[in-house]
Amino acid sequence: MADILYDVVIVGAGISGAIVAKELAQKGAKNILVLEAGPETPPTERQEYLGTFFKNTVKTPESPYPPALFSDPSKEPTPRATVSDTFSSNVAEGWQGSLATDGYIYDPAQSYLLQKGPQPFLSTYERIAGGTTWHWLGTSLRFLKNDFQMAATYGNGNPDYPLPNWPLQDSDMLHPYARAEAEIGVSADVKVQEADLGGIGLEYSEGYEYPMQELPLSVVDQTVGDFVNQTDGYYGFGDQSIVVTSTPAGRNSQPYAQRRVCAGNTNCIPICPIQAKYDATVTMSTAMSTGNVTLQAQSVVTRVIAESCGAPVTGVEYLTWKVKKGKLQTPETHSARAKVVVIAAHAIETPKLLLMSELGDGSGTVANSSDQVGRNLMDHPLYLSWSLMNQQIYGFRGPLTTSGIESLRDGEFRSDRAAWRVEIGNEGWNFSNGDPWTTTNDFISGTNNSGLNNQGPNGTPERLFGTDLVNRLNDAFTRQWRMGFLVEQTPEPDSRVRVDPTNGLTDGLGLPRPVIDYKLSDYTRMGFAYAEIFSRQVYKKMGIKNHTKNSQTVPGADGATVSNPTWFENPCPELFDNLPADLRDPDICARDENGVPQPTPKGFQYYGAGHLVGTYRMGDNPATSVVDKTSRSWDHQNLFLVGDGVFPTITTANPTLTIAALAFLAADEIANVLKL
């Protein structure tokens, strides 16, 4: 292939790579090569993946997809982060002390990511054609006006204010968002969105309509809304209105793009069985139907080639891999020349690749004159809060989520602490408690891991069978619900992806594995404190108990009890000490690991949202950013770094819609470069 000069080589067949490929192919680029690290797609891909999911004992977001969970990352050609890497039993006693030396939070024999903390990064991704959109939720929220201009709006001239401006304004994004919504196929109602969020900066072009009507609210949503909707504010939230809003979603409410209508499989994560939810294979199929795009799987790019900072990139080097009779064969080395190179391997694999790519003149690595490559890794650290409604609300039905509380995504408080949106789940305590497995086991075995089996004498657990078992399980499952607070995390230069060949830890191809440094700032942590205060007011209105657990310790490896790596100290205990008495009622407070309510919490536990953001940020200044507003490298005029890594801030919106919108902007600029 070295003889061919491609118009474009794209690294990664996820949503960004697919949109760029499709746009350029349709505009007339004649030879586009897409190199996908992951395995060849099975002929009956969805059924095969679905079957793997059904039979997996662990139903995590990655469970349907290769490589298999619990496989050894040092032997796999394309290992990736999985939720099962971070199960607490993987954590050794004394893990904190080992971080300063050669230790990691999670055992490298299980965890592909080499986590140096002090907090673990909990989000994951897929390395297959279609990328992580195979297991995305489908939530397709636009950013708000102020999300793009945080320093200008809330920084008050403070040079230490943690959230920078984007090099784009919301007005620049109206058309790209519309293109992304058309490509993904988003179901929502502009009038509903504007009524609830117009006041905090949600905008559309005049006369705009979403591609499809909104999805109906679930019984859970309707019931929550009946209790919580209020226009005159909650304690701690000024006079901002609180309202449950239907969530714009990348799932079909009517037949769209030759795909079916959502049947409410309650399985958007990890896999929609009927492709009613968009994934990037849809866009890649369109791209390939032009005849201008070649997708080559099992091709792992190892170097982006450039002679020096300021020189154009000339192509990429990559390895192809094969497995024969269960054994990984010696990989073959290849190269491909291109007029334009696009890296679309998200916020972890993209910086890893760039940091592996030495410039020909030995002066550093590709695209990194700013020293920002790999830095500012972000997620939406998630605060889960769960409870039992007094009446039956029938969760575990419908899409995993159909609504959220969006009206607190912006406000003056962003000067001081993180904003969040509240996702309302339709999956009972599946995410929070591992149900139906945990509670079913409890009531059959007489254990109480769920906290629900406490109605025996003196609150002891009972062992049930027959009609009692049916009634008690029905009672529990049909009343379960949860909120998930997606907290805006600040970018931190020291939260980063690194490569460190000296640690000797590689994947099955001999390539270095990402080292992750990660921490949550006080600004971010204060978002958790206010999430807990908000939850209490919701439960108070409903007259129900808070069942949330923030576990400071968890069972670890070899039967030890260890400090929970996903728990952090309450950043402001006095905030809780000074709450009105009714907001310190133990019934509405989150609990510790022993189930004891905490009016003043010792700390909070966080989860990953699956939102990998930052690490090659866009900006106006080449000294402090990696790419410009078109995702074009400041250092190499024909290198584009697309995807979630370009976000300077994560905001409170799930990122995929914005990823897609920015990929359209990048594709427009690449078309200019290629004079298409």
Binding site: G264, R397, G398, G428, Q455
Partner: protein
Amino acid sequence: MSNQSDQIEVFVKMSAVLNGFAPEMFAPSVDPADLKTVYFKFIIGKAPERFHELLHAFSEMVAGGVSPQDIGAMLNGTAGGLPEPMVNLALSINKLWYLGSWYDPEAPDDPTKQQVVSDQAYIRGLSWQVMQSHAMGNSPFTFGYWAKDPAASLALTTGNPAATGRGTS
């Protein structure tokens, strides 16, 4: 107990005592997946002698006129009378019906010893029925069903007239 079909019939009756569903709901006569036979053979493969002892003990109790409620309490160990390993097997059988997963009777908390018997076992787990829904990833319903309460009552879903839809709380 003589032949296998007789034993499977006993297995189904014992399972109904444990899981609280009518046999026609979890082991219907027309059943392409034939979970009762799949499970019967699966358990034989795991604990042949103890399984036969358990079925025998159940048959003896039925023949002795013991009430289903008292039988269930003995099977799940709340009433005493059966050896602990037999009780543990009964608990694993109940979880198998509810979750489609096998939990080792002697090490139910060991994740390395858990196993999903088949995709149909997962899909037809009674936990999904008891919540008046469907297996996650296998909805038989149509667009928008989630906006209304379930059409079928719990009694209808379970075939158990005493299933009232609420627990004792």
